[in-house]
């Protein structure tokens, strides 16, 4: 996780406290705590359920989206059946999500980030797509569930 992100989020909290916006401050702190807790909880594990990774990515993108509300929207979806019992390596997709955010912030028009997991037997396919104006950025990973390693890494265009 980019530490820049953590301090900038704390900086937002400082802003809301200063403004006396109690609800926003509390909500920010809770969201950041959840994200950090899950990150630390999964660190060092060889695999986590797909659902955990999905909620980590959603928590991260939610916080970034709060900071840059008008710059991008996002969705994180899984089409994997019983994704709570399918395991993948933790934090593998996270840098791609970070990169998608920083890419969106550099675009002139507001962007949209879509992270989608879908079955592609025997693999689990993960697509990270960012679009803004006519530009787009996409990464397509094929993960091997259970075995916890990347078997193929393809179409990592400009990532």
């Amino acid at each position: 996780m980019n530490q820049h992100f953590i301090y900038n989020t704390l900086n937002q909290v400082q802003y809301f406290i200063h403004k006396g916006e109690k609800e926003a401050s509390l909500s920010y702190i809770i969201k950041l705590s959840r994200l950090l807790r899950q990150w630390m909880h999964d660190t060092g594990k060889s695999s986590v359920p797909v659902t955990d990774e999905i909620s980590l990515l959603s928590a991260y993108l939610t916080l970034e989206q709060l900071r840059f509300a008008d710059r991008f929207s996002f969705e994180v979806v899984t089409d994997v059946p019983q994704s709570g019992s399918v395991f993948i390596t933790p934090h593998l997709i996270f840098p791609l999500a970070e990169h998608a955010v920083s890419w969106c912030l550099r675009q002139k028009e507001a962007g949209h980030i879509c992270i989608r997991m879908l079955p592609d037997a025997p693999f689990l396919q993960c697509m990270v797509v960012a679009q803004a104006g006519g530009e787009s950025l996409a990464a397509n990973l094929h993960l091997v569930p259970q075995l916890n390693n990347i078997s193929r890494l393809c179409n990592v265009s400009s990532l």
Partner: protein, 251 residues
């Protein structure tokens, strides 16, 4: 009254800084705000502020890009940044002030007070020149080069070309890759500190070696290192533990 411009890429950060300046630094007047490099350069040229709060990470570039484009204008600068990265090292060496975000109001007041002491505009320019120089040095450190005065002229040698240095009385021999050799009229001591930061080690009174060029360490005969050019370099007994530790700590 010091006239101030705030350069921050996030709206809330700009607003927050402007608010706490109004609250805690009554001698400052915010005359402009900018969210990217182009706006910052234009605002500084138009307003000619005394002081600029400059975020290092801007979405379209960095605060240093702003500095490069405003040479001639000489406001005091206080950098702001969310985390402690390589550039902070250069900033510290240059005695330019910086604030880590979230911003500590006491640190902010301290930094503002120091800019008031340093209001002579010429010293601002000098400080910033030193900063830009240091930054370039840091970037160049990825592949540093050493300047050697030899009998024939001046040689610029990338450090990775150097296998080892050997004392020759008051002079030093540089043993380079491809069997090249250069004699420099300085003693070995001169290079010990300079190269120490770059993975070189003085292993003996007469020898400095590039640790990246060590092929083997042989324990017999009191211990010696075999270099990539097959030269054998004696390790002095009191340096042996340090040497082994340095070699083991490498990946």
């Amino acid at each position: 009254m010091q006239r101030v411009i705030i350069v921050e890429d996030e709206a809330r950060s700009r607003e927050f800084l402007a608010d706490i300046l109004a609250e805690h630094c009554p001698t400052l007047q915010v005359v402009g705000m900018a969210s990217n490099v182009a706006e910052a350069v234009a605002a500084i040229r138009d307003q000619r502020p005394d002081l600029v709060f400059l975020d290092i990470e801007l979405q379209t570039g960095t605060g240093f890009d702003v500095l490069e484009q405003i040479s001639g204008e000489q406001p005091s600068i206080i950098f702001t940044t969310a985390y402690d990265h390589y550039a902070i090292k250069a900033i510290r060496f240059s005695a330019v002030d910086y604030l880590l975000k979230p911003i500590d109001v006491d640190e902010l007041k301290g930094a503002v007070a120091r800019t008031r002491d340093l209001q002579q505009r010429s010293s601002n320019q000098q400080t910033l020149d030193v900063l830009m120089h240091n930054l370039k040095q840091l970037r160049a450190n990825e592949n540093p080069t050493i300047t050697l005065s030899v009998a024939e002229g001046i040689e610029f040698i990338p450090l990775r070309e150097i296998i080892r240095l050997e004392a020759a009385g008051a002079y030093t021999n540089f043993l380079l890759k491809a069997g090249r050799k250069m004699m420099v009229s300085k003693n070995l001591k001169e290079y010990e500190t300079m190269l120490g930061e770059h993975n070189f080690m003085r292993v003996h009174n007469s020898h400095i070696i590039n640790l990246a060029e060590v092929k083997r360490f042989v324990k017999s005969d009191g211990g010696y290192a075999v270099m990539s050019d097959d030269a054998q370099v004696v390790i002095s007994p009191k340096k042996k533990d340090d040497f082994v530790r340095m070699m083991m700590s490498r990946i």
